[in-house]
């Protein structure tokens, strides 16, 4: 079921929170007592989307599990900027083993907890797109297929940022990386399906698969929390812009992620047992160019001359997502029957429908 959006005129359904909402309706990130699983002093770049996404996801899981959580981390930016000796930014039980084995290590932790009868402690595996869709794919698929009790979170910034922006299986068409054609008639990554891990995960028929971005905090928190309602293998794919690798302004990290969804290029949906059960409709649809223009990795699409045909192909991908997942832009009100209830609960006034 699609999550209950907190309808609020001034604060809007998308802000982190506000003073008028009852605590249980506020986002985890708006709470002073949030756990800050990833604390400050880490060495992530200015405006790092991954640092943001990791804290969002893990704080939510921490709340859902009342702090009984163990995280396993694949090698990558997140691991490197969070735990350079002698300091760690984690405030949770955390283990880093290798680049390609995080899902299997998480499975091992879960198995140990099962063996010790400590199933009250939940396990989260996490990694970047490289560690997940490429080198970790085998272990991930095995973890899915055995339906191990692990939530795996992929922070997708669409290339190998840690090693200097090389192409990954999650790099989108035409995006330029250090290992894709820099110039010529078709610079950047080639067109194609790429490796759509959320769909691959669904093909395993695991209990829960969802996508989210750092632009819609409430949606991300809802999905991380929802994932914890299930046991067995769960997969959460979070789009986390990388100012360094995308050539976007650090201040635009959330904006870029928002445009990825509002353009239809990154469909936000959730699936249970292999079937899509909900998708977040686009609020105000924008052409893909609004998303692309903010990123230097796509600069070649606009300079020296605008490559209209290439842009049209990218737009076609967005349009396909929109029809495939039913993301047609619409007023939220239609998909907001419980508006009055939330307004009432949020303000203490009588239900509008009465008067």
């Amino acid at each position: 079921m699609p999550q209950e959006r907190i309808k609020f005129y001034q604060i809007g359904s998308f802000a982190a929170g506000n003073r008028l909402l009852p605590a249980d309706l506020r986002s985890v990130q708006s709470l002073p007592e949030r756990s800050n699983a990833l604390t400050c002093g880490h060495r992530a770049c200015q405006g790092c989307g991954e640092a943001l996404g990791a804290r969002y996801a893990l704080d939510t899981v921490m709340r859902a599990t009342k702090g009984k959580m163990i995280a396993v981390n694949a090698t990558g930016c997140l691991e490197v900027f969070s735990t350079p000796f002698p300091e760690t930014s984690w405030q949770i039980a955390w283990l880093h083993s290798l680049f390609g084995n995080a899902p299997a290590v998480a499975t091992g932790v879960a198995a140990a907890l099962r063996a010790k009868g400590r199933t009250d402690i939940r396990v989260v595996g996490q990694g970047g797109d490289g560690g997940t869709v490429d080198i970790g794919m085998g272990c991930l698929s095995g973890m899915f297929e055995r339906n191990d009790d692990v939530l795996y979170v992929c922070y997708d910034n669409q290339a190998y940022m840690n090693t200097g922006v090389q192409r990954s299986g999650a790099t989108p068409p035409t995006a330029r990386t250090a290992t894709t054609q820099a110039v010529g008639d078709q610079p950047g990554n080639t067109f194609g399906q790429g490796k759509n891990v959320p769909l691959i995960a669904m093909a395993h028929q695991i209990p829960y698969v969802a996508t989210a971005t750092v632009a819609d905090l409430r949606d991300l928190e809802y999905k991380a929390a929802r994932a914890m309602d299930f046991h067995g293998a769960r997969y959460l794919h979070v789009l986390v812009p990388c100012p360094l690798g995308w050539g976007s302004s650090p201040a635009d990290t959330i904006r870029v992620a928002r445009l990825a969804t509002e353009s239809g290029l990154f469909p936000v949906f959730e699936a249970e047992d292999g079937e899509v059960v909900g998708a977040s409709p686009i609020r105000r649809q924008v052409p893909v160019t609004e998303y692309l223009r903010l990123q230097a990795r796509y600069a070649h699409l606009f300079r020296p001359v605008e490559r209209t045909e290439t842009i049209a192909r990218i737009q076609a991908i967005a349009d396909r997502n929109i029809s495939r997942f039913g993301l047609r832009a619409e007023s939220q009100n239609q998909q907001n029957p419980d508006f009055e209830r939330t307004l009432a609960s949020a303000s203490g006034v009588r239900d509008l429908t009465e008067g």
């Binding site: 760690t88 390609g100 198995a111």
Partner: protein, 417 residues
């Protein structure tokens, strides 16, 4: 209690009695009978453990890493290509100081693919930071597994128990199977040095730069040196609990007053001892030094055991192409301080080639007469290799060596040598 059992099943009994909490494995010949037996025990409820069928050896070791870090006693088994496939995780397990125990049913490494026994696989991991124990008999293989958990957990260092594929794993022999209560008394429950616990969180697996990496490695070297004392102590403790000798650092056999000492690892030692007994009867002053602990290498014990020898023959069950004998190198280093006798390296039993008493006798006689080359291959079909060498001299592009040899041999690689 005495029983006639296949080596693999005996090892499964020992592992089961060691009460592992997580067992994960990927099937590979000749390791399969061990994990099949363990899986059956878990399914039958005789063993209370989590048994995971994983999708690769890499995943197997990774699951063991996670389980061990979360405070569970973890076990896996593999061989050959499987050990190489999990190699990255093998190094990681020791780097993180996780006391995982792994059986390696020793088997050759391809190409050419070969399922038969030699030590190439274990030897390839000799620098992985794991303790490596080699079993001479199935009884020892069984006993070493019980000791391995104790050693590993005492030091927070993983242990590899190496046993010859087929020769031991598939051989049915008479063994003394200990009682569960004996094992429980000898091996206390796992008390981790560090554990992932939400109640007392830590970050395991930091990135360490130049400022501390050398120190980290120095400490692992120091820990390996401690291991030498511990392994000896554990062997002694085992003797007092179980009343028999198993494991330890080295195994001298009739080395007192021996001019010629044969050095070796694993099941070949049995055949060597038979040959040595006969040669002794024929008046040859010859003895055997079995190396039970290969990593850490017991340099001191080796030096002492070989002190009186004038000639050494080191039997290598693997080869480092371009360098030669791997064990030989360690023996030579161990002796460096003392006087160095004449050392001959004999590469024997590669890829399942049988090492027979007959051929050993011939070789050792030659050694006693000083006729043994510094480096030689037992049972080498000289004609075959000469033919191929000639071919290669003639035409640079002569195709894969293995296929050519087989063509000349006119047989398949099965059967006994």
């Amino acid at each position: 209690m005495l029983r006639q059992l296949e080596g693999s099943r005996a090892v499964a009994e020992a592992v089961a009695m060691s009460r592992p909490e997580v067992i994960c494995a990927y099937p590979i010949t000749p390791q399969t009978h061990i994990v099949e037996a363990l899986s059956a025990k878990v399914k039958a409820g005789e063993l209370n453990a989590e048994f995971l069928n994983v999708e690769s050896e890499f995943a197997a070791m990774s699951v063991a890493i996670g389980a061990s870090a979360a405070g569970a006693r973890a076990y896996t088994a593999t061989a050959s290509q499987g050990l190489l496939f999990m190699c990255e995780a093998v190094y990681n397990a020791s780097g993180l100081g996780l006391p995982i125990v792994m059986t390696v049913a020793n088997r050759a490494i391809g190409a050419p693919i070969n399922i038969w026994n030699d030590h190439s696989d274990s030897m390839s991991q000799r620098d992985s930071g794991w303790i490596q124990l080699f079993a001479e008999t199935n009884q020892e293989a069984l006993d070493l597994h019980i000791q391995a958990f104790k050693i590993a957990e005492e030091l927070s260092t993983p242990v590899m128990v190496c046993m010859d594929g087929f020769l031991l794993t598939h051989a049915s022999e008479r063994m003394d199977i200990p009682e569960q209560r004996q094992v429980d008394a000898f091996l206390p429950p796992y008390a981790p040095r560090q554990v992932l616990d939400p109640a007392d969180p830590i970050s395991i697996g930091a990135m360490v730069g130049p400022e501390a990496f050398t120190e980290v490695r120095y400490l692992s070297q120091a820990r390996m040196l401690q291991a030498l004392d511990l392994i000896a102590a554990v062997m002694a403790g085992f003797r007092s609990w179980f009343g028999r000798d198993s494991g330890g650092l080295v195994r001298p056999y009739r080395t007192e007053d021996a001019d010629l000492i044969v050095v070796g690892l694993g099941s070949v030692l049995g055949t060597v001892k038979d040959a040595v007994d006969e040669l002794r009867d024929e008046g040859l002053r010859i003895g055997v030094l079995g190396i039970s602990t290969f990593r850490p290498f017991p340099a001191h014990a080796v030096r002492e055991a070989l002190a009186g020898a004038r000639r050494l023959v080191v039997i290598e069950r693997a080869i480092s192409p371009g360098s030669g004998g791997i064990v030989t190198g360690d023996v030579r280093t161990a002796l460096a301080a003392a006087h160095v006798p004449e050392i001959s390296t004999v590469v024997a039993g590669l890829g399942g080639r049988a090492v027979t008493k007959k051929s050993l006798r011939r070789m050792l006689r030659g050694a006693a007469d000083g006729a043994l080359e510094p480096m030689s291959f037992l049972h080498l079909d000289t004609g075959l290799v000469e033919h191929e060498l000639a071919r290669m001299r003639a035409t640079r592009r002569s195709g894969p060596v293995a296929e050519n040899l087989l063509r000349d041999l006119g047989v398949t690689a099965s059967g006994i040598g």
